[in-house]
């Protein structure tokens, strides 16, 4: 009775180290996963595999390269958790890999798979008779709880740019559709205004598709996850910049000496820090120098800082603010800063907290941070002793996600559902343009326009049909 779609979600906690699981369930689970998975021999497809088997294989990127190794288990209906065909993809536990794997399953399978709704696996398990009837109430509660949780998450995400944009786009679509409906309903009054309307509508849908593209590209979530966050490690000489890099990488990538000015070029590294992929650039210490080679390094450091999305400002906690002047003048405006107050081991607890407070006041002023200003976080570290790295990772998460992500992957799934909805909106708009190009009359165009508005409505949780009727009456003077 329920539509027999195939659904996917991350089925393990996002925090677990080790192995994480992406679960795919539904009639097309095997067929779909064959498009994004391969077994080690690259010979056998999942559709051919026997039930209840696990094999080693790979998750493939769009270009066919390997995203991660995976253990892939296949269960067939009705002998699975949900009672449907199920594929479980066990990948290395990092949040990044898990998410990329889910994203591949959702977007690389020709529309066969959609993101699971809150509690949907369990609901299916129940409806397919996989659970004792006495579990019904527990299942009902679980659906409710997960849905409330997802709604809260969505709410948080939507309070930002995405929400505003989605609502604006939805308004635009409803207004255009309402105009078409008004003119079809009352042709004596509005029909003339439909002349040449296709071209006007096309400019609207094209603009909207552009906006959706930008949203998908530039939404902090989307692009940062795809490309990583470009970070510059910056600071006065010999504050511990290269040590920070090495701590993060866990290797001796940069040459560390206690001679100021050792790093004369920009070093780049890519690493996974908790949730995030960071593209790290270690830079030369910034100071006035007569050394020509060092001066070039300083210039490069300044340029690197300009391109970065995040600055790690490394400072000697004992020398704030004395040595900071030269460095601060090199920082671009607005870019968020995490001030790493290093060498905490040189101070006792009391003087450290005093020093931190002083630094806070000084930096807020100097970097024009604070309310509505630049984002600033302060952490103290003792990099020599490898202490404080976790607070660094927390600060990144705080800055870029603004919310705790400890929540079972639902957060990401919420945004993945949003992404899916945006892509569907863009497709529906594209079809509208196809219709305009063919010269079909407006009542056909509304089929796609309404689909586009409905897709956006899935993001904001708003129904379309009643609202359209309201819009017809509120935007256009109807009735004779």
């Amino acid at each position: 009775m329920e539509e027999a779609t195939t659904i996917a979600a991350i089925a393990s906690s996002m925090n677990d180290a080790g192995i994480g699981i992406v679960r795919v369930s539904g009639p097309k689970a095997l067929e779909a996963c064959d498009l994004v998975l391969t077994d080690a021999s690259m010979k056998h497809t999942l559709t051919e595999r026997a039930a209840n088997t696990i094999r080693f294989g790979y998750v493939l990127r769009e270009d066919g390269s390997i995203l991660d190794e995976a253990l892939v288990s296949v269960m067939r209906a009705p002998s699975s958790y949900t009672g449907e065909d199920v594929v479980e993809i066990n990948v290395h536990g990092g949040a990044f890999v898990l998410r990329e794997t889910l994203r591949r399953v959702l977007s690389g399978t020709k529309g066969m798979v959609r993101a699971a709704l809150p509690g949907e696996f369990t609901k299916r398990a129940f409806l397919n008779g996989k659970m004792d009837l006495s579990a019904a109430e527990a299942v009902q509660d679980m659906i409710r709880a997960q849905n409330d949780f997802a709604l809260q998450n969505a709410e948080r995400q939507l309070s930002g740019v995405l929400g505003k944009e989605v609502r604006r786009m939805r308004e635009t679509l409803l207004h255009e559709t309402a105009f078409i409906e008004a003119s079809l309903d009352d042709p004596d009054v509005y029909a003339e205004q439909l002349e040449g309307y296709g071209e006007r509508l096309r400019s609207v849908t094209e603009a909207l598709r552009g906006d959706i593209g930008k949203l998908l590209d530039s939404a902090a979530e989307g692009r940062l996850r795809k490309d990583g966050i470009r970070c510059a490690i910056i600071g006065a000489p010999n504050t511990g910049k290269s040590t920070l890099l090495n701590c993060l990488l866990g290797t001796e990538r940069a040459i560390v000496t206690d001679l100021p000015g050792t790093t004369r070029d920009v070093l780049e590294e890519q690493l996974q820090l908790g949730e995030w992929m960071l593209l790290l650039s270690d830079t030369a210490g910034i100071r006035k120098t007569a050394d020509a080679a060092e001066e070039i390094g300083v210039q490069r450091a300044k340029e690197t800082a300009k391109e970065a999305a995040l600055l790690f400002l490394v400072m000697d906690v004992t020398k704030v603010p004395e040595e900071a002047k030269e460095v601060l003048s090199a920082l671009p405006e607005q870019t968020p800063v995490i001030a790493v107050l290093n060498k905490a081991d040189l101070l006792d607890d009391a003087s450290l907290s005093q020093a931190k407070e002083r630094a806070q006041v000084f930096l807020e002023e100097a970097l024009s941070a604070g309310e509505a200003g630049r984002e600033l976080r302060l952490i103290t570290t003792s990099l020599l002793n490898n202490e404080g790295i976790s607070s660094l990772s927390d600060a990144v998460t705080e800055l870029f996600l603004k919310e705790n992500t400890a929540a079972q992957g639902e957060f990401f799934l919420t945004s993945e559902r949003h992404r899916e909805a945006l892509l569907q909106t863009a497709e529906a708009l594209k079809r509208t343009e196809g219709g305009i190009a063919e010269g079909v009359s407006e009542e056909f165009l509304t089929v796609d326009l309404m689909e586009a508005a409905a897709s956006l409505g899935r993001i904001t949780g708003e129904d379309v049909s009643e609202e359209l009727i309201d819009r017809i009456f509120s935007d256009f003077c109807m009735g004779k």
Binding site: K123, K130, L133, Q140, E181, L184, E442, E443, V447, C477
Partner: protein, 651 residues
């Protein structure tokens, strides 16, 4: 005193009542129809036309089901137009100006000539009920104001805008029904006594003017279509070709709006005198001026009320302003400078059902055998009313004679959309049909209403053997013709090249089919006859029916189905999804408030509308997808327990 000869009672002889009475009578039920004035059967107290966008669809559907409205308007129209002709077929809609007097006379005659129908002028004062074995009240009969009781099995109440009606023209309030008719003052309390809940709705109508006082030379003339297309599938096109009467178009202007704004304080609506909720799709002119302040003019249509009267209807300018204000603002409109008002505009308030009191058969939830149709259900419009009258009567008949009754879903007809919305929505204003309300409107065309609904009308006993045979033949013939078009190959010959070039259509490189060419926007079925050498002859409907020949209705359908195949098949996919939800029934005795995990808001809404199935539940306001999931799990568990079936998870 008791009159005992009746099976069915119809209260009200408006558009709903007439269709209801005829539907009963066709099945042999002895039917008594009560109205406040037998001289006002099928009276049109507001606009003088039938049909229009989406309403034209309703008339076609009523006709396909065996109703009378289509026949009636085909005989009484003054002018007819197919709206949206330049658009696709789904939004083509017939609209005809009616001769009001003729229309009423026609309906009265049809009712009077039917041996199963008795027409009575009486006001109903009491509804008699009793309790059945299940403890539930059921309908037993009615008592007139003058004390005569009429026992019967079933009743359809079609009280229109007459219940506790009052009309407002400025400060003047008249306790009366529309157009000076009496109001029904006793039925409301009779209904509340048996547990029916009522509320107030409001609507309005513009002034009628003496045509001799108008200067039509200052207005644009609007002519009817030639040739006229009939409403009814039974009417032969030749029968409706006749001389037509024009309508006129003029505009309001800044001066009109100024007068309205200056006098707003005298409008009962803005002064807060009117309690009822008025419709947004039919705003009064003062409403338009306030709500659309940036519009510098509004269109006004001047339409005849009949062939033998000079009265004209001023469409687009309804108002509840005092008459002196009306005179001054109407006279600012070009052509209306010297207008003489025959009947001033007024707003009318009336009782109708509060939401959530009907089943999908349009039967009361508190009283078995008591059905409702028309404006009392919160709708507006003659066509909406007529559709409900027929629908309710068929379902009431099923209660008397047994059988399935009539059910139409949202993907089968506008009537289905109408009934589903009236039953499940919390309406805030009188409900008017719109094509935008029909999710699957590309499939619900006025041109295929017979293909969609004739079988249902036949099953309901309202459609004759001959009528259904015609629809069945048509269906088969269309399918066959489509097959032929899909399989007839067209080679890339010189003749074809020349033909395509002449019609500004892209050349073909290799062979193709007639269907592929027909799907090109620039080519029509008729044009393709040049290439279609094996096409059967296209003859009249009469000659074609039952044979291998074609008629225009068949070729039109084949053309539409092929031309719009892409969009139509997408809608068919949507319908499949929709039906899956629609077929999942919800037991009638479910108690939503006790379901764990269901949000309180959702439970309350579900409790008050008590949807029949999961699809309907999902359309109720305040119910979200997670609520539906919870409901499904609950139903599954409840049914599992009832069957004593599943107890273990690994079954």
């Amino acid at each position: 005193m008791e009159q005992s000869a009746y099976d069915a009672v119809v209260i009200g002889a408006g558009h709903a009542g007439c269709e209801a009475a005829l539907a009963f009578a066709k099945r042999g039920l002895r039917t008594v129809v009560f109205c406040l004035s037998t001289d006002h059967v099928a009276f049109m107290p507001c606009n003088p036309h039938i049909g229009g966008s989406s309403k034209g669809h309703l008339v076609r559907e009523i006709d396909a089901l065996g109703g009378e409205m289509g026949h009636a308007i085909d005989r009484c129209f003054l002018q007819s137009r197919m709206l949206n002709r330049s658009k696709g077929p789904a939004v083509h809609s017939l609209r005809a100006q009616a001769d009001k007097k003729q229309y009423s006379a026609h309906m009265r005659r049809v009712l009077e000539q039917n041996p199963n129908i008795s027409l009575r002028q009486a006001e109903i004062a009491e509804i008699l009920t009793d309790r059945g074995e299940d403890g539930r009240p059921y309908f037993k009969g009615v008592v007139t104001r003058t004390g005569i009781s009429y026992p019967a099995r079933v009743c359809v109440i079609c009280s229109g805008t007459y219940l506790q009606a009052r009309c407002l023209t400025g400060e003047v309030i008249t306790e009366s029904g529309p157009s000076g008719q009496p109001s029904a003052t006793l039925l409301s309390s009779a209904l509340t006594e048996i547990g029916v809940k009522l509320r107030r709705f409001k609507t309005g109508t513009p002034a009628r003017m003496d045509g001799q006082s108008l200067d039509f030379s200052k207005m644009e003339r609007q002519e009817g279509d030639v040739p006229v297309i009939p409403f009814s599938f039974d009417t032969e096109p030749e029968e409706v070709q006749k001389e037509q009467i024009p309508c006129y178009l003029t505009y309001t202007n800044e001066r009109t709006h100024e007068i309205l704004r200056e006098n707003l304080y005298r409008s009962p609506l803005y002064a807060g005198v009117i309690e009822g909720v008025g419709p947004r799709y039919c705003p009064s002119i003062e409403d338009k001026v306030v709500r659309f302040a940036d519009k510098d003019r509004h269109q006004i249509f001047v339409e005849p009320e009949g062939a033998d009267t000079t009265e004209m209807y001023i469409d687009g300018m309804s108002s509840s302003m005092p008459e002196d204000v009306q005179i001054s603002f109407y006279r600012t409109v070009p052509g209306l400078e010297h207008c003489e008002i025959v009947k001033p505009a007024y707003a009318i308030e009336y009782d109708c059902l509060a939401p959530g009191q009907l089943t999908l058969s349009l039967e009361s939830r508190v009283c078995k055998g008591l059905f409702f149709a028309g404006q009392i259900n919160g709708s507006s419009g003659y066509e909406e009313a007529a559709a409900q009258g027929l629908y309710a009567a068929v379902n009431a008949t099923a209660q008397v004679l047994g059988g399935e009754g009539l059910f139409i879903d949202r993907a089968e007809g506008y009537i289905g959309v109408l009934v589903d919305d009236l039953v499940h929505k919390e309406l805030w204003e009188p409900y008017r049909m719109m094509t935008a309300r029909a999710e699957y409107r590309l499939l619900l065309r006025q041109d295929n209403a017979d293909l969609r609904l004739r079988e249902k009308g036949y099953a309901a006993g309202l459609v004759s053997e001959e009528q259904v045979a015609r629809a069945r033949w048509k269906k088969e013939r269309i399918a066959k013709e489509m097959e032929r078009l899909k399989h007839t190959r067209i080679g890339a010959t010189e003749t074809v090249r020349v033909f395509l070039e002449a019609n500004a259509s892209a050349p073909i490189r290799s062979g193709t089919t007639l269907a592929a060419l027909l799907s090109r926007p620039e080519l029509s079925y008729e044009m393709l006859s040049a290439l279609d050498t094996e096409r059967p002859a296209v003859v009249s409907r009469e000659k074609a029916t039952g044979t291998d020949l074609l008629d225009e209705e068949v070729t039109k359908q084949a053309e539409i189905e092929i031309k719009y195949e892409g969009y139509l098949s997408r809608q068919e996919q949507q319908v499949k999804q929709f039906r899956k939800m629609e077929t999942r029934r919800i037991p009638a005795d479910i108690s939503y408030l006790s379901i764990k995990g269901l949000r309180k808001e959702a439970a309350q809404h579900l409790e008050s509308f008590r949807p029949e199935n999961i699809g309907a539940a999902s359309r109720i306001g305040g119910v979200n997808p997670a609520d539906i999931s919870v409901l499904l799990v609950y139903l599954e568990a409840a049914e599992g327990r009832a069957k004593g079936g599943r107890t273990d998870g690994d079954a």
